[in-house]
């Protein structure tokens, strides 16, 4: 098999034979992305309402269903209503610490069978079992780590208590978020991604970051748009005005 040195050596040999096509530089990266992001977040908090309006427009354009509640206590009402309308019983959700919200109590009181995912490492056998639970669930409830207004995108980061399958295997996905995770553009999302990878930041979380822009779709048969190929057929975004933490915003 070819070694790294040999492979890169061949690349260097070819590079030495050619001048560039034209003088070019890659994007200028922020030197301290987390600091830059803090500044941006403060600016964005001044105009979150505009960002939200734009997010809603784009999210609905790609087939998402938007819900808005005043207080965090009302989220379970929305989830219960989504389940009831579709006659769904099996719900799976992120761990309460990751969701910043405990749904198990309020939802199990309403005849729903809710499975909350564990917040830490579990055995391989337990992982296998939980995968089956997620695959059998009809509705998956997750948090949101970033919402991009320009494209109507929900971004979820995997990790302990926040399985990838919750937003992937059930036919319906509901994501709960507040104004703190809103950004305006993909360029700003790029800054967030830089910050998430700064130093050893990336090592503390899971290995997958997923940008979700509407329900799973295809147009592979005669260009007919069809929803829910492998991922969810429906995506709901539940916005909490008062915010998820504490619930007391100024």
């Amino acid at each position: 098999m070819t070694s790294r040195a040999e492979f890169l050596g061949r690349i260097r040999a070819e590079m030495a034979r050619t001048p560039g096509l034209f003088p070019a530089t890659p994007s200028v990266r922020p030197a301290r992305p987390r600091e830059r992001l803090d500044v941006l977040r403060r600016e964005l908090s001044e105009r979150w309402a505009e960002s939200l309006a734009r997010f809603v427009g784009e999210f609905e354009r790609v087939g998402g269903v938007f819900h808005r509640v005043a207080r965090v206590a009302e989220v379970s009402d929305v989830i219960a209503a989504i389940a009831a309308e579709r006659e769904m019983r099996k719900v799976v959700s992120w761990h309460p610490d990751a969701l910043r919200l405990d749904l198990a109590g309020p939802l199990s009181g309403r005849g729903l069978e809710i499975s909350t995912m564990p917040g830490g490492e579990v055995t391989a056998a337990e992982r296998e079992r939980l995968r089956g639970v997620a695959a059998a669930a009809e509705l998956g409830v997750t948090g949101v780590d970033l919402a991009v207004a320009e494209t109507g995108t929900l971004v979820v980061v995997s990790g302990a208590g926040r399985p990838r399958s919750t937003s992937l295997l059930p036919a319906c996905h509901a994501a709960v978020f507040d104004r703190d995770v809103l950004v305006e553009s993909l360029a700003q999302a790029g800054l967030v991604l830089e910050a998430w990878h700064e130093g050893s930041a990336a090592d503390a979380r899971g290995a997958a970051i997923n940008f979700i822009t509407g329900p799973s779709r295809t147009a592979d048969i005669e260009l007919t748009l069809t929803r829910g190929v492998h991922g969810p057929k429906e995506v709901h975004a539940v916005f909490v005005e008062d915010g998820l933490v504490g619930g007391a915003r100024g």
Partner: protein, 471 residues
């Protein structure tokens, strides 16, 4: 590596495609729709033009320091516990993937749509080694069941009707349904869901790989990329070396233009950033992550005439606008990559001999270069390829003799002037109403689909000379 179909010459493959009425209609509808969606997406996005320039600059800048970016990528993937492999050829890449499959005892592999694994003909090799590969992109799944090849980079089953798909599902899956895309998609979801949950191995390509973070980026609409990188025990990503981008800031630029160029979406449904194997505390994610860096003719083009083709994002926009692709579709090209960029990529992977006909399958109208999100000058490189085909004596000899003689004549004005009266004599038996509809012998190819104008009764040079004399 060539398709069985290559036994027939390109011209015959093209005429067969032209004779297929359904194919022509499907192509017209699909490509027209893609063009409209793309125009609307960019029309809505004033910053798009500047971002295309940025993206082009990033691609060129990355190539100028490709070794350093790859070093960063490799270091970062390995730091996270991933393994990196180096494939000089398609055969190397196949062997690497087969080794991984064998070591992990894999029997079933789920594949997310990937042109790189099409290019190295991985499926046949996996099957021969006793591993069942399942294509999971709906279009790819359909053509895998039909034992065909993709006919469009992003819409692989563009050439199939819903009726054909329903027949195919009934025959291959024993699932009867009426020809309704919704029903057909539901069947595919059920069939493939089971495979995702059973598979040992997930095989993907990579739309991008971010050097600074060691992140592999997959863009899909269906969610199969997420499935293939989350559920199986082992994940292998096969990527051409040119797919590396320096940073997340750069990635954001590409994401802003890729889906708009491909399908007219602002962003595809799923953009998955994968940082290697499962981390502690995660329920899903592979125990093993492998990245296969693929050369297969790319590295030679860093200093070659096709360097700019290494910018390609595989969005398919140039296919949709190409007057040749729109008429003949992807299969007639005969290789993995169709369309204008496909001709360049075929020359890159298979050598210039493989495109001696294909290099001419372009009107050089420039629509491809206009549509390309990174503004690849495809017509310029097609002309370079035509030149190479002649210079390396790959072109057919009558063509070389005729054009060689013509070139020589042009360099000798006295003889050139003499040639007009001679040609007027020679053309007499063939001229019909000012045109020559049919030439004899091996020149007949030239007039098969076009008339040759006759040499004028008085050439411009003769008229000019006469005018000068009269003064």
């Amino acid at each position: 590596m060539s398709d069985p179909d290559l036994a027939t010459p390109f011209r015959e493959r093209a005429s067969r495609a032209l004779g297929d009425a359904f194919l022509k209609e499907a192509l017209t509808i699909a490509t027209t729709k893609f063009i409209t969606l793309r125009q609307e997406a960019f029309g809505d996005y004033p910053e798009g033009e500047e971002l295309r320039d940025r993206a082009r600059a990033i691609k060129e800048a990355t190539l100028q320091h490709l070794d350093q970016h790859l070093e960063r990528l490799i270091d970062n993937v390995e730091r996270r516990g991933g393994h990196v492999h180096y494939a000089n050829t398609a055969e190397d890449a196949r062997r690497i993937v087969l080794d991984i499959a064998r070591r992990s005892g894999a029997r079933l592999a789920v594949k997310s749509k990937s042109m790189a694994t099409e290019e190295i003909h991985l499926n046949e090799a996996l099957e021969a080694a006793g591993v069942t590969p399942i294509e999971t992109d709906l279009g790819e799944y359909i053509i895998q069941l039909a034992h065909e090849r993709p006919s469009h980079i992003i819409a692989p089953a563009i050439h199939k009707t819903k009726g054909q798909v329903a027949e195919l599902f009934a025959r291959e899956l024993k699932r009867e349904t009426r020809p309704d895309p919704e029903m057909l998609t539901r069947i595919a979801r059920e069939e493939l869901r089971e495979k995702f949950l059973q598979a040992d191995l997930g095989i993907t390509g990579a739309n991008f790989a971010v050097a600074e973070t060691g992140t592999v980026v997959l863009v899909t609409n269906e969610g199969n990329g997420r499935m293939a990188t989350s559920l199986p025990r082992v994940h292998v990503a096969v990527m051409g070396v040119e797919k590396v981008v320096p940073s997340m800031t750069d990635l954001a630029v590409f994401l802003a233009i890729l889906a708009k160029s491909a399908t007219g979406q602002k962003l595809s449904v799923y953009t998955s950033l994968v940082d290697g194997p499962r981390r502690s505390g995660e329920l899903e994610g592979p125990e093993e992550f492998h990245l296969v860096l693929l050369d297969n003719g790319r590295i030679k083009q860093i200093a070659g005439t096709l360097r700019e083709a290494l910018y390609c994002l595989r969005c398919g926009a140039c296919l949709n606008v190409c007057p040749v692709y729109r008429q003949i579709g992807g299969h007639a090209y005969g290789y993995t990559y169709p369309g204008p960029i496909g001709i360049l990529l075929t020359a890159m992977l298979e050598g210039p001999e493989s495109v001696k006909d294909l290099a001419h399958a372009s009107s050089l109208c420039g629509a491809c270069a206009d549509a390309c999100p990174v503004r690849i000058d495809i017509p310029r490189m097609l002309i370079e390829l035509r030149k190479e085909v002649v210079e390396r004596r790959i072109a057919p000899w009558p063509e070389r003799v005729v054009f060689g003689a013509f070139g020589w004549l042009l360099r000798h004005p006295a003889l050139y002037r003499l040639s007009a009266p001679i040609a007027r004599l020679l053309q007499r038996p063939f001229a019909r109403g000012g045109r020559i509809p049919r030439l004899p012998l091996f020149f007949s190819d030239w007039t098969r689909t076009r008339d040759l104008p006759v040499v004028a009764a008085r050439t411009f040079q003769e008229r000019w000379a006469e005018r000068e004399r009269r003064r």
